[in-house]
Amino acid sequence: MARAEVEDIEVELFARALQLRHGYDFSSYAPASFKRRVLNLAANAGCRTVIELTDRLLREDALVPQVIAGLSVPVSEMFRNPSAFRTLRDEVLPVLASYPLINIWQAGCAFGQEVYSLAILLEEAGLYDRSQIFATDISDAALVRAQEGIFPIRDARGYSDNYLAAGGRGSLSDYYHARYDFMKLDERLKRNVTFANHNLVCDGVFCEAHLILCRNVLIYFTNALQDRTLCLFRDSLVRNGFLCLGNRENIDFASAASAFTAVNARDRVYRRTGGAAS
């Protein structure tokens, strides 16, 4: 039997073990990137094969957080894709300003770079004090990191360039303290942020949001799961609420896309203009 087929079987068995033993359903994740992550997980855990990793997963509950963290690898940067933040600032925030209280859901917060970017954007628009931000992720390990708000100082320059390209009013350094090899985002940036565990595969609506950000998470989902998630977003948004996706995401195949109208197609910013719920 060719090598690839054996690997694919091993990955499938791993996913089944994860579901049967620990209740996590990754069956609707896009297979190619899921397979890469599983192979990397096995290698990083010192396992010669995925079967070995599966064996450990079945017998060591303590491995689960590391597995979930490895399957939702959070590569991000502050103000990633600055033009999207510029669009948020120029086209979305002025509309949100008309609400007395603003609820924002950031789905898939990873290590928090995007949440802190959003907080800064809101502060500079004078909207932070009436905003509640819900930052969710499937990985508890990521949530802990996000809450800390600490990043390597070597990333500061890139983040700062992004911040300025996004139309930042001051200097990114106004918002963090540098210490040794790290930059720590100001505590005040998270005073209205709630970090919580939420799994887009199986969890439901938990708030009524005026803006949902979910950038480069749906890319890891099959068409069916992407559609389910868009339905969840539709049901979580107020009428005319905004959704912001990653800049190369494609919702053409999702029937739930009919509930959304593009505000800025290039930056993947939409408004919920139709569909069920409220």
């Binding site: 694919d8 890469r36 992550r37 480069n216 890319i219």
Partner: protein, 181 residues
């Protein structure tokens, strides 16, 4: 197909020599260093016999079309022939990485696949090409002596070897011939 330094020029040469109506999809990763490959695609398209488009997630890889990986994302091919994206760590300091594309394509297409590594300054693509060969696909490497930047094709030859190691001008005729079989 994968390339980096000198890649735009190499691609223009290869794509201008391809037979119209080639019955296979072409998928390209080129390290361009830019945030948006729209202009890159347009520049390549002007000298290409086949239409050149940015690859979109969830879309199928179409025969007779050249699909180029978007900036900032890894491009993968699923078993059903559709594209998917990832923002995982850089591979060989690159995102999009040739290795990521080639490895996923090797799993998806196995023996029905041709991998081409051309001019470039790092070793991205070497392991990917090895994966293509391991799955029974065909490997073409641009002769390093003929390449604007030899590191990439040399690394591919060293790690993966090649079924064909040829100068740039010979790549298109070779692809035309292989696609007929």
């Amino acid at each position: 197909m994968g390339c980096s330094a000198g890649g735009m020029s190499a691609l223009r040469t290869v794509l201008s020599g391809l037979r119209k109506g080639l019955p296979l999809p072409l998928v390209v990763v080129c390290h361009t260093g830019s945030d948006d490959i729209t202009t890159f695609c347009e520049l390549i398209d002007t000298s290409s016999t086949l239409p050149v488009r940015e690859a979109r997630e969830r879309q199928p890889a179409l025969p007779g079309v050249v699909h180029v990986a978007p900036a900032g994302y890894h491009l993968l091919v699923e078993r059903d022939g559709t594209f998917s994206l990832s923002v995982d760590e850089r591979v060989a300091f690159s995102r999009p990485a040739i290795d990521v594309l080639f490895e996923s394509a090797a799993s998806a297409y196995a023996t029905g696949l041709v991998g081409v590594v051309m001019t470039g300054a790092n070793n991205d693509g070497a392991s990917g090409l090895a994966a293509i060969r391991a799955h029974g696909g065909i490997a073409i490497v641009q002769d390093p002596l003929d390449a604007y930047a030899s590191a990439m094709p040399q690394a591919a030859l060293d790690l993966a070897g090649a079924d064909h190691c040829v100068p740039l001008d010979a790549i298109a005729p070779l692809l035309n011939r292989l696609c007929q079989q």
